[in-house]
Symmetry: D3
Subunit: 251 residues, 6 copies
């Protein structure tokens, strides 16, 4: 992005390449084997990791574990209330899509052999939404997952030398607004973005998922490149925040 | 209860007639017109009140408002994970039952004429469960409801002199454990109780709902009476806590 | 209740403390192991008890039996037709609630050890509704249950000395109308009641369930007491009618 | 059928061309505008007709009425209990098929112009099943329909000179068992039948529906002809029974 | 039919007793064990037969195989688009009815002992509809079924001497339009028909299913007879076309 | 990609940068306003465009049109049969995700003002699947959409000068297999790919969607760049094929 773009000030006072304040409250849940309440600004997502011995029947005897995820929004997490999917009796396409994305993102850094025949079920429930709920969910879910694995190691469900986690993973949204690429869009920015992209990357800076969508006009290769640059800088910041949270004394 | 019973000490150090620590965080939600995060010990329920102009079609022109409620538990709010009702595609009987109970309890203290043709939708989502989720939900929902009505009054959706709330309402569980009536059961107590009762009462000490169930052996009239005594003392305490929360400077 | 209240005459000619005519037709069904068509006035409920060897998987090897119940109303059992829940594709909250109530009420008088690893499924289908369908259902279901257990004893599925039934159980509604407590409300009374209570009690006069709801204004302790008195007198009458039906020569 | 076949005696003592005892109890329901509890032997079906002013939106202004039907079986109407379709959350193919058959059969004798813009909803609920539930349902539904139309005429919802019913309609099953065509199969006969046919015919002896199915071996033209003969004799008998019931003083 | 009727010319130039052009494209699918894309004029149905070893649990050890079928229409196979049943979340009565009809029709010519404990699942998906979709489906499904059985014989899943197919089966619609019986109705004819009948018959000329419905006025015995004559001539023609297709060099 | 990579020969004889044979059969459907049966090798998708006047209620009066899409697979379009989503009663996450992708992709090239208040519903039904079904669906759907708009222009539902289509759109999959980027993956290649990307681009070479997923190991920026190069060359080829099909004399 140009110098002038970097000097732009956003509605909440951030520069275009700045994350919102990110807070990770590890061990929020008294019950879950791993948990994190993560905030990206006003976006708040409760991530829990539930560990169980055994795997789905079709994986029995494979020697491999399984990690899966479900995403959901509380009905009044948003500006206006949405009907519950449990009341509607069916899960919407967007929910399905994000649940699958979270699961794939986490599995990309898991060595399922190292996990052994155990299952970790991640739940990401959006308590308050202000843009970037799926990226906050992935970033928080990684922390919950890491804690659940340590919990399991403590109980010897996972070997002392096993390394089920081969890397870290975090995610961030980027978008082009009035021609300027911006990092970590809040809701008011998200609805104005011409192009919207979610990038999931590992701590080593490799891509796990790149999902770019032209909301307004289609975008060219140069715009795509600038968004990818911005996103990788953002996920690098998020990685540092994740590692700091995990380094802090656990609950 | 006998002197000796009152001296009993429970697993968490309480006396039989003592509530767990109750904390009400008003205005938790940045979006909802009224909200409260309520804790009864480790039980945490997020209550939001969503105000909308207008009523369901069958009430059009009645001059009356409508208050309704939905209850739900996060999948890992409990000790072991439960499948989401949205994924199962149907709402279970227990969820239905509690949603209906919360709605009835609130409507018992609402003058729907005073509310005008407006709807308030209450959502009670259990973030963490340790017994008494329905009673915490009702107690917190009243606070969210009161705040939403004040919000509406501020925007003149409700008349300045209208008094849509004719009383306060709170709820508590009571039960008989090893022959001793006890107040506000935690989960480990709930599963041991021979008789389990939820009482919803107004600030004036009148009953809105009395739901007693023999979990083990049927109970006699004397036991019923001692439980009712205990419950009314508990709801009186809860009323004081509600009023203190509402008296504090709002968000 | 006061002398004068007891002298009141209701729309159908009853005194406040009088049941409607109760008729129990045992063995109505040619197929079910136990069955009763019960009438509380114009309310008619067909109760069947289906006996099967074995229990749900999670009870295998427990040495205990299982009793469960489902309640439903025919679409035109009511004054105006209701859509079928099978057509709507989901069971409503009220249906769920009553099914669970019936099941709990029956299990309160069953010694599941005495039943052995057998399952009894109760079905209560309301053929015609005029208030009190859930209380008629419970009262009739007990008769069907007792007959199914005798059927099973005859085939040696239940031991000759086993006593799976430890008491009888019956239920009745009570309510306060124009300030007067009344027993066994017909539909026109039910809609006018300020307070509505359903009481399930055993033949020995112990409570199994007490469910009181303020439909209009909340109620005080004295009103609650008078309703409980009335209800226990009613369930005592119902117990006599059940025992007489069971004493009569079976079909 | 041959002389010798006509002399055969069936398990319940009938000759091959004999109906079971048919009983029609008109006005069984205190609520419905028309109703009949019909028995074909042990098969018992409660048929109600619910009259409402107005038609589905797509028929508004057509000047025509609408008649539709739903069929269902109580869970223990059968020899072994079936799960409720409301609990399963979906209606089975058989239920759909029979509901549609009943609706078509009744509409075949209704002049919808004569009915005016009114809707009659027929419900046929099988209380006890012993073969022939769909044919009993159609036969009883006609009586309920006729009574609902007379009810509507009495309230002037239908014109005094209008003739919404242009004929009567009844239905019977026939089948070939051990080579012998038989009328009105009971359940034990139905399961043994090589060919099974349901015939719906008007009082004038015209066919409304002919549904023949080879359960075992395919059937030839001669067999088909003998079944049609038997069925038309059966529906003629049923027509007489319907007319006698309708001629009797109504409740 | 009279001489003059036979001389009538239909909208598409056919005589009353003439089939539309029938084309069977065997082996259309690269994946299915048997398949046929069948056209009856503009009606096009893709029929696939999926062979799997094993049978549903309730048939284990019976030594018998299982054949079942599902029918569906693409949303824009029809003149105006229909909502997808997957989106509506439930299968309609018509779809259920036709799926069951196809399954029964095929099973009528299958010796399940000869098939061994194997399952063949037939899928009939209507790509384009112009009347007669169920009859085209049955006719095409037989070809797919026959090919799947040959495929299984080639892999020795079915014995070399086993004859799982004891006859062929085909289906055709007939109807009375303006008093004239006509064969194989196109959609514009179908909607005008007073009586509509679908006949399923074997190659030997025996009936498997006869389903006649009075769409307008009820029909008499003479009309029924003329329709049956016409239908048997039609299924005989279809049998020849099936055999020719099966005799042609396979894919 | 390197010289040597370009010389690699794939299982089906293609070079890494070569599309499978693409065939577009315009006007396949006799009913739809626009339609195309498109093949990418053995992958065959039937795309129909259904035009209706009017828009969903929430768009009334906006002066804008609406384009939406649904994707589905026939149960035996795949190598082994999948259960129908209509039978399961719910749509899976993958189906939802692809339906949404197709809709977004088409809307990216539609000027909804130019379309006027009309709706075009696209249906993409996979008749046979061999990898790349979503990309074939998008590519074929564009042709069906273009034809439906011309149909509407011919009937003056769309203005003679209106240009509802502002560009063309096509899609292709790319992936890295054994380290080599490859275009338009067949199923056997898709399951082996370490990274899998679907790219939707306009005829002018702009991106509409970029969805890259690390199936095996995460990917770096250089790999991402090479996949994007390959994809844009592929969509350029597809654009030429679309334009040639649309230039050919219509049906």
């Amino acid at each position: 992005m140009t110098e002038s773009a970097a000097d732009l000030v956003r509605a909440d006072g951030r520069t275009p390449d700045q994350l919102r304040e990110v807070v990770i409250e590890r061990g929020w849940s008294a019950h879950a084997e791993g948990s994190a309440l993560i905030s990206f600004g006003r976006t708040k997502v409760l991530c829990t990791a539930s560990f169980t011995n055994g795997v789905p029947r079709w994986m029995n005897g494979s020697g491999k574990g399984w990690v899966t995820a479900e995403y959901s929004m509380l009905p009044r997490s948003t500006n206006t209330r949405n009907d519950r999917e449990s009341v509607k009796g069916r899960i919407g396409g967007r929910t399905h899509e994000i649940s699958r994305l979270i699961g794939r993102s986490l599995r990309a850094v898991v060595d399922t052999k190292g996990l052994g025949e155990n299952t970790i079920q991640i739940d990401c429930d959006v308590l308050q939404a202000d843009g970037g709920t799926r990226t906050a969910a992935i970033t928080g879910a990684y922390v919950a997952l890491a804690d659940a694995i340590e919990w399991a190691r403590g109980r010897k469900f996972v070997g002392q030398k096993a390394k089920p986690l081969i890397d870290t993973v975090a995610a961030v949204s980027v978008g082009i607004i009035d021609g300027t690429p911006m990092l970590d869009l809040a809701y008011v920015e998200d609805v104005r973005a011409e192009t919207d992209m979610n990038v999931v990357a590992t701590g080593r800076g490799l891509f796990v998922e790149v999902q770019g969508t032209a909301e307004g006009a289609p975008f060219d290769r140069r715009e795509l490149d600038s968004l990818l640059d911005l996103a990788l800088a953002g996920t690098a910041d998020l990685t540092r925040i994740q590692l700091a949270a995990l380094a802090a004394q656990g609950e």
